[in-house]
Structures are given as C-alpha cells and as structure tokens.
C-alpha cells in the first residue's frame, strides 16, 4: 500500500507544471468554498435555535429598523408580566442605536461612530460573547464597564474604531448626531472592548443619550420634543431559561395591551437574526446553492482535465503496467490515488492558509451583516478543506481513472508498432 502511494506521489512529480497548475486551481477554489462556507456556517449557527439559556429580542412588529418609544422599556424588560403567574425574564437589556460623526461637514467612515446606548452593566451580562468572556478577559474589561457606569458621558470603543479615530483611552471626543439630528454628545473614552467581535463597535451610557434627547432638547426648544423622542428604543433583549419560558414571555408581550402603536413582536435572537437575514435571502441562496456547487464543479473539472492529460500522456506506461500484471482495479486506484493526494494536499494547504490569513493575519473577514462585524474561518475548515479537495479530486478523476483502467494493451502496442 505504501509503495502504491509512493508510486502515485512520484507520478504527481513527473509533470511539475501540470501538478502545480492543478494544485493552484484547487487552492483557489477551495479558498472560495472555505470563505463562503465559513460565512454560511457562521450564519447557520447564529440562526440555529438554542434550547436553553436563550435570548429573546423584542422589536417593532412592522418596521425595520425597529423604533419604539422608550416608554415601552420598563414593562418589556419585565416581559410584560402583569399577573402573578406570569414569567419574568432572568435579565434584560435595551438598545438604542446612536450614530455620530466627529466632523459633520466632512463625514467619513473613519470619523463616524456607531454606538449602542445601553445600561453599562448589561455589557457583561447580556451582550453576546462579552457575557461569556474567559475570566482573564472579563477581569480586564470590567474596569472599563465600571468607568462607564460612573461616567455617563463615557464611551467604550472597539480597538479598530479607536485606531481609525486616532484617539487613546482618556481622550475626549465630540460626536455630532447623524440619526439623532442636533443631539451632539461630548464623550470621554473610558475603555476598549476585548479584541474580536466588537472591534469596530462602541457603547455609550443610555442615560446620557436619553437626558440629552428627552430632557435637554425640549428645554432648549421651547418644549418641543425631538423628532426621535418617541422612537429611541430600537431593541429590547430578554434572557429566558428555556424555550417554554420564551414561549410564555413572547405570549405575554404580544398579548399585552401596552404595545399598540407601534405593536411589537418577540422572537428568539436566532429567529430575529434570521428575519434580518431575510433581506439577504436571495443572495445567500445563490451563494449556497449556486456559487458553492459551481466552485465545486469547477474544481472537479480542473482535476478531470489535469488527470485526463496525465493519463493520455502515460497510456504506454499504463499498458506496460498491465503487461507486468497490474489489474484494472489497481490502475484505477493508482490514478485515483494520484488525484486524491493532489486534491487533499492542495485542499489542506488552501484551508490552512485561509484559516491563518483570515483569522490570524487579517483578524476576520469584514462582512458586516446582522450585527456581525467580522466572520472568522472555522477551525473545522482544516478538516473539510482537505475533504473538499479530496472529494472534488475523486469526482473529477473518476472518468480519467476508469479510462486508464480500461486501456487495452494490444491497442497501445499496435499504435507503437
């Protein structure tokens, strides 16, 4: 067996340019498949329903983006519980999205900040991934949260955002409201998010935004409310212990008499994300069912072409091997083995390079949809990258291998004679 594998390896070396080009084609196509599958797998995982310790999202029922009055917040955070037997959420968090720029006249992505306005303590208990930080990272991040609690004009920034703004912790920034026209915030940078998901994000104290919006604005505008005053609650997150509790809380909220204009809906985080992703449905469908199969088919064709050329060039050798006693099955396995080695190695190289390049060098793929600022290549890619290469190689080389196994010795020799 080892000798057969060695023979297959030596056959790959016989035409280095052909093998190199085939490997390059495989590397590129496996790279495409790895990237696409990573994003799809990430979204699949995000939209997969959890059974326990799940989060529910309450949003405006009929509009995206959701914009609810802040008066909904208190009761929604209680799960609209109004009877003794009603279920209350274990924890809750409100989100108000504030977009601001440091330079209103010359607004660029680099001087713009998109911040979650929330209760600071919820950063460590309700925010995805921050609520499950390893002890070391949690201890390092907690002081920033404390500073934000103490200083309602504080802001916590992601590392990339801090770099883009060219600021350091302790410095002050002024943000001019983009979605909250006229609501400008004077902020002190009190900390940074742990590296990862929130690298480009920002968090501010909810109370600061609300006081500027609901108190200061009317005071300075003859009692007139700000246009966003009744639309400043974007999302409410609720933590519930299990699916039964979720169903109960959702039912409580959706039947409560408090939320009529606008009406609200309660769904799990995963189905909320799925709803959000609905806008990308056609794109994702195309990627999943057209792009990936097309890449796999191309990969198989590249392999088929290369192995066909190789088999055609070696017809005489194959005939000689048959004369020596090699059976058709052994010739078939030898040719399949060659493409298997080539596909597996190229697939592994591609997946490993993609994994290292994206996860370690680039720090993720910037593809900001559904609150995911970046996607990372799953560690599994190191397994299924080679598997994709091997599978496509096998599929592509089967016909050439079959042709090789069927080579008729007398025909080959009669052509030589």
């Amino acid at each position: 067996m080892f000798k057969f594998a060695l023979l297959a390896l030596k056959n790959i070396r016989r035409n280095p340019i052909l093998s190199l080009l085939t490997s390059a084609g495989t590397v590129i196509l496996v790279l495409v498949v790895t990237l696409v599958w990573s994003v799809l797998a990430f979204l699949d995982q995000a939209t997969r329903e959890k059974q326990q310790n799940l989060k529910a999202i309450v949003t405006e029922r009929w509009q995206i983006p959701s914009q609810m009055p802040f008066s909904y917040a208190a009761t929604l955070c209680e799960g609209a519980a109004r009877e003794p037997d009603h279920v209350r959420p274990q924890d809750a968090m409100t989100w108000s999205f504030y977009g601001g720029t440091m330079d209103l006249r010359n607004r660029t992505l680099n001087n713009t900040v998109f911040a979650f306005a929330l209760e600071p303590e919820k950063l460590l208990t309700m925010m995805d991934e921050l609520d499950s930080l390893p002890p070391g990272e949690r201890a390092a991040f907690a002081p920033a949260v404390e500073r934000l609690k103490e200083n309602r004009q504080g802001i916590i920034l992601g590392r990339e955002r801090l770099t883009l703004l060219d600021k350091r912790v302790g410095e002050r920034i002024r943000l001019y409201g983009i979605n909250y026209r006229g609501i400008d915030l004077e902020l002190e940078i009190v900390g940074v998010f742990p590296p990862g998901r929130y690298d480009k994000s920002a968090a501010i104290h909810r109370d600061y935004l609300l006081s500027e919006l609901l108190d200061k604005w009317p005071r300075e505008h003859g009692g007139q409310p700000h246009p966003m005053a009744e639309r400043c609650l974007n999302l409410v997150w609720l933590r519930v212990p299990d699916t039964a509790a979720f169903a109960q809380v959702a039912q409580q909220i959706e039947t409560a008499p408090y939320y009529t204009n606008p009406s609200v809906k309660c769904e799990t985080a995963s189905s909320g994300i799925a709803t959000f992703l609905d806008a990308y449905r056609d794109l994702l469908w195309g990627v999943r069912y057209l792009l990936v199969p097309a890449a796999l088919a191309s990969l198989a064709l590249v392999m088929a072409n290369a192995i066909s050329i190789s088999v055609r060039q070696r017809q005489m050798e194959i005939a000689v091997m048959k004369v020596l006693g090699f059976r058709p099955r052994q010739i078939l396995l030898l040719v399949l083995g060659e493409s298997l080695i080539l596909g597996t190695l190229a697939g592994l190289a591609s997946a490993a390079a993609t994994w290292y390049g994206v996860n370690r060098l680039a720090g993720g793929i910037p593809f900001p949809i559904a609150f995911f600022p970046k996607f990372f290549i799953a560690d599994d890619a190191l397994l299924w990258g080679p598997a994709v290469g091997a599978g496509a190689a096998l599929a592509g080389s089967f016909v050439p291998a079959w042709t090789a196994a069927r080579v008729k010795v007398t025909d080959v020799f009669s052509r030589v004679a």
Binding site: L7, E317, V320, K322, V323, L324, R327, P328, Q330
Partner: protein, 243 residues
C-alpha cells in the same frame, strides 16, 4: 522447419499453440491475422520468430504472453490454458509466469532502476526484505547492481534494456517473451543483450521467445520460424550470420 540446434527439452513443451485463429474486425470487414496456427516451444528453448511487418508476430506474442485471446483455438503455457482465462486471471498469471522485454524498454521514467525492477513484485505477497533480495539479484544478473538508483534517463539504451530484462526476470517466470529487444540498440549493445538472453536460457533454463527482424539476433535462437500472412513457415538462418 527446424534450425540446426536442437532445443534442450523439446519433448516437454512449455508453450503449446493449438489451432489458433485470430482476426480483427474493422467495420464489417474481417481481417485474419493468424490462420490455424500450431506451435510448440519446449521448456528451456530459445525460440526465434521472424517475419515481415504485419505478418502477425506481435499478435502471436501477445497471445503467448496472455495479453490477448485467440478468436478460436487454444494457448497453453505449462499446464494452464491461458486462452480461457479472464482478464483479471490473466493479469495475475502474467505476474508470476511471464516476463516481457520491450523494444523501447518502457521503463517508468519517474522510478529508479531498482524501483522499476521492483514494480512487478509489488503485486506479489512479499516482504520488503524479500523484494529487495530479488531485485538486487535480478540487477546483479544483468550487471547493473551498481546503477540501481539511477533513473532511466541516466542510463544508456543498452543499460535500460538490461533493466527491462531484470524487470522481466525478477518474478522468476518460466517464460520470457522479447519483442524486438535489440531493435533500438547499437550493434555492441544488441550483442550484449543477446548474450544476456542466451545466458538466461542456458544458465537459468528460461524459455525465451524472441520476435525479431534481425537475422543476427535470430541466429542466437535454438530454433527459428517465420510467420508469413498468419502462417508459420520454416525460418532457417544462414550459419554465416550467426554470432
């Protein structure tokens, strides 16, 4: 029919061709290549087969080597009727019972001399040690043990053919078929190869069937027959042309 040298074991034929016809079809046309052939080649005999191009020499050789099957008739090698074997059985049989020497050597260019000779042994249930012993012995017999790690491209034509012969004998087959083994060699190398084949026949009692156009090569055979239009005729070689 027979040349002047008597084959050593003519009473015990190793190869028996019994009433063999072979034809091919090209569309509706039938092309008869061998017509009712009868032939016996004795154990340990050096048999030469001559004939013009298209006379059916290679077809006959292919039948004897188990690379093809007759349209009618039987081919026996030893006690086995190989014309009744399936392709898979023939492949197994070839590994153990016949060695093939080609005109153009047909060594695998990516393998060393050692690995080329080892190739048929990969099909047999032998340990690595046993394989190594047999390969080294075969290369020693052809005088190329010192070149065993050379690739075919690093060897002369004569040396490549000797590696081809080592590959043919490494499984210790009783029959060696050689199709124009000197056809691509200069005179000196051709003589060396013919010497080697003679040695295999006389020293190791191998039965050798040599197909050639070259009367000098044929003159080394114990017996020569000519094939003309699919029929065997006398193949006497002038003594003057012998080595």
């Amino acid at each position: 029919m027979q040349q002047e040298t008597t084959p050593p074991n003519v009473a015990r034929p190793l190869v028996r061709i019994v009433g063999v016809h072979k034809y091919f079809r090209r569309g509706s046309e039938r092309i008869d290549v061998l017509n009712g052939l009868h032939l016996e080649v004795g154990e340990g005999e050096f048999f030469g087969l001559m004939g013009p191009s298209g006379s059916g020499k290679t077809t006959l050789l292919n039948l004897i080597a188990g690379l093809d099957r007759p349209s009618t008739g039987e081919v026996w090698v030893g006690t086995q009727c190989i014309s009744r074997m399936s392709e898979s059985q023939l492949a197994r049989w070839r590994t153990r019972h016949v060695g093939f020497v080609f005109q153009f050597y047909h060594l695998l260019p990516v393998l060393s001399a050692y690995e080329n000779v080892e190739l048929p042994l990969l099909l047999l249930p032998l340990s690595a040690r046993q394989r190594r012993q047999q390969v080294e012995l075969a290369l020693e017999l052809v005088g190329l043990k010192d070149r065993m790690w050379h690739r075919p491209g690093q060897l002369s034509g004569g040396q490549q053919q000797r590696v081809g012969i080592a590959r043919a004998i490494v499984t210790d087959p009783e029959l060696i078929v050689a199709d124009e083994p000197t056809g691509d060699l200069d005179a000196a190398s051709a003589e060396e190869i013919l010497d080697l084949l003679e040695e295999l026949c006389s020293g190791l009692n191998k039965t050798i069937i040599l197909v050639t156009h070259d009367p000098r090569a044929a003159s080394r055979a114990h017996r020569v027959q000519r094939l003309e239009k699919g029929v065997l005729v006398d193949g006497r070689i002038e003594p003057a042309s012998r080595h």
